[in-house]
Subunit: 327 residues, 2 copies
């Protein structure tokens, strides 16, 4: 029996989940739940669209609901509300608020006897795993996370909110020299500025004060002030021609020392290079939807992160095949 | 209460475990079990040495026994024999025989209500994890494992068995061009010869037929015949000066495509660069010893591989700290 999947929210991530489910023979897509008028929504695969309000009435038709809303306002409400009725997976990525989100989802999931896997994707998600494994294996060492080269949607949005800006794309770029120092095992202390640069491509309104926009960007606290930032003004045509893709990636590196005299150095590096950030994140969500369903079958209710899930549960392979082919 | 660790077998791996336990405040080393005369064995840290025969009589003093014997003859006997009496971790690495080893250890562990985690290290071990996660996330794709640059002890031993050879060191070296093709996402089919070269450093007996030794090496089936192999004869002095370390490493790369039209390519790469292969392997064993003990506390008896163990169990951090610091 295929695992019956629902998609809640149909933006880039929801579309990515739709495509990823089509790649997995052990799952079938029941439909997409939207806050828009479902009659007006045409899905990529022709999967039916339902009103978000109808979701709970379909609780018996869906094994796992994959939540594809945003972390700022959608998921803090939606995940606890739905986790009582469905096994759920979400990509909640506001790192500082994960403990609080985990707790509120846990209460709901336990009330309903359901499983919720939260903060799934690549960071948090696969990068969390890389950090956890590496720090357990090399207890005396240092972790470093680098992002990019890739589009940061949060930083792009921040630029778009500046007066006079029509569109913007921000690329986060790791600094090669910092990477080399980290890999060497010297365990450097690095500031934000020493790790990444920020490249901004901006389409301004006709007649806008470009110098003012550039200054607003470069001085924006948290987002840009602590980085070496470049701003390049381009035409809308160039934006559409060169900057519509959403590539991303990054790496987690841990270096550490072993031996009674700490004489040996080791480097563990986990890296991703992604043509499409939303499609890859969706693919991780779908693998964890399989795990969520299996945990539910084991009656292991409550909320989990990727650190709580045995890796074997992510795979469509049987345990026997997994051991034979992958161990 | 610290987790009480025993080390069974005191070669390179056992010494590495001794050093790794010293780096972990939540563990204490009870002692080393040896088939040699324990009175003659002086450990690096001054930990007591006991006769291997006395191990079972100390079953109540040890929470996890870490088995540090070899995969060829030691572990197939020792792990099932000890898993009935102790929680155990081993580094059994004969890939083809893992299913059989898992089954024989499972029966013993379940008889004793104990936990056994087998085939722990980096390959099998961390590389198995890398393959399992990556193939679950990118179901349409290809896996590649490259080893090196590093010393293969099995290949070095094979050369040492040739008549006229006093000592030998074999380095496995990945071929850059193959790595570049794999990372590009083209998903090439690669032969053994296209992926790695083998560099051999050999000390010959005085008067030995060097041309004959070189031919014996290069034509050895399984070990060398399928590779471009270089043989360099060196003096014993040079061997001792330049080739006594046991560095190793390698990488697991998976490339795969997503999207309804398979329009996006992604690369996941997990790599290790290790100054000391045995010390790093030991560090992985020690992290899984912690997990084995926690699984035992949960009464989850039987044999497991790394794929069955939730990553959170490897860490000395509390679940709360883990979520806060690493997710």
């Amino acid at each position: 029996m295929a695992i019956r999947i629902g998609i809640y929210g149909y933006g880039n991530l929801g579309k990515g989940v739709e495509a990823a489910v089509a790649q997995t023979p052990d799952m079938e897509l029941v439909g997409v739940f939207t806050r828009r008028d479902p009659a007006s929504l045409k899905t990529q695969t022709g999967a039916p669209a339902f009103s978000a309000d109808a979701a709970i009435s379909m609780r018996d038709d869906i094994d796992v609901m994959i939540l594809c809303g945003g972390s700022a306002t959608d998921l803090p409400e939606q995940t606890p509300a739905l986790a009582e009725h469905f096994n759920v997976v979400d990509s909640f990525d506001t790192h500082a608020r994960i403990p609080e989100h985990l707790a509120s989802v846990d209460a709901a999931a336990k009330r309903g006897g359901k499983v919720a896997v939260i903060s799934v994707g690549w960071d948090p998600g696969l990068f969390s795993l890389a950090r956890a494994y590496a720090s357990a294996v090399l207890p005396e060492g240092e972790d470093y996370t680098f992002w990019g080269r890739g589009v940061s949607q949060g930083h792009s949005d921040a630029i778009r909110r500046i007066d006079g800006v029509l569109d913007a794309r921000q690329y986060t770029v790791p600094i090669d020299e910092a990477l080399a120092r980290v890999r060497s095992g010297e365990a450097p202390s690095l500031t934000a500025r020493e790790k990444h640069t920020r490249e901004c491509y901006v389409v301004a309104k006709e007649g806008a004060d470009l110098a003012h926009i550039e200054r607003e960007i470069k001085e924006m606290p948290n987002y840009f002030a602590d980085y070496d930032t470049t701003v390049t003004f381009i035409s809308m045509e160039e934006m559409k021609e060169k900057h519509m893709a959403l590539p991303h990636g990054g790496r987690v590196i841990r270096t550490g020392r072993t031996g009674l005299d700490k004489g040996h150095s080791h480097t563990i590096e986990y890296s991703l290079s992604l043509d499409s950030n939303p499609e890859f994140t969706s693919s991780v969500l779908v693998a964890y939807a399989r795990a969520a369903y299996r945990l539910y079958e084991r009656e292991d209710a409550g909320s989990k992160t990727v650190l709580d899930v045995p890796p074997a549960l992510l795979s469509p392979l049987s345990h026997e095949e997994l051991i034979k082919k992958l161990v």
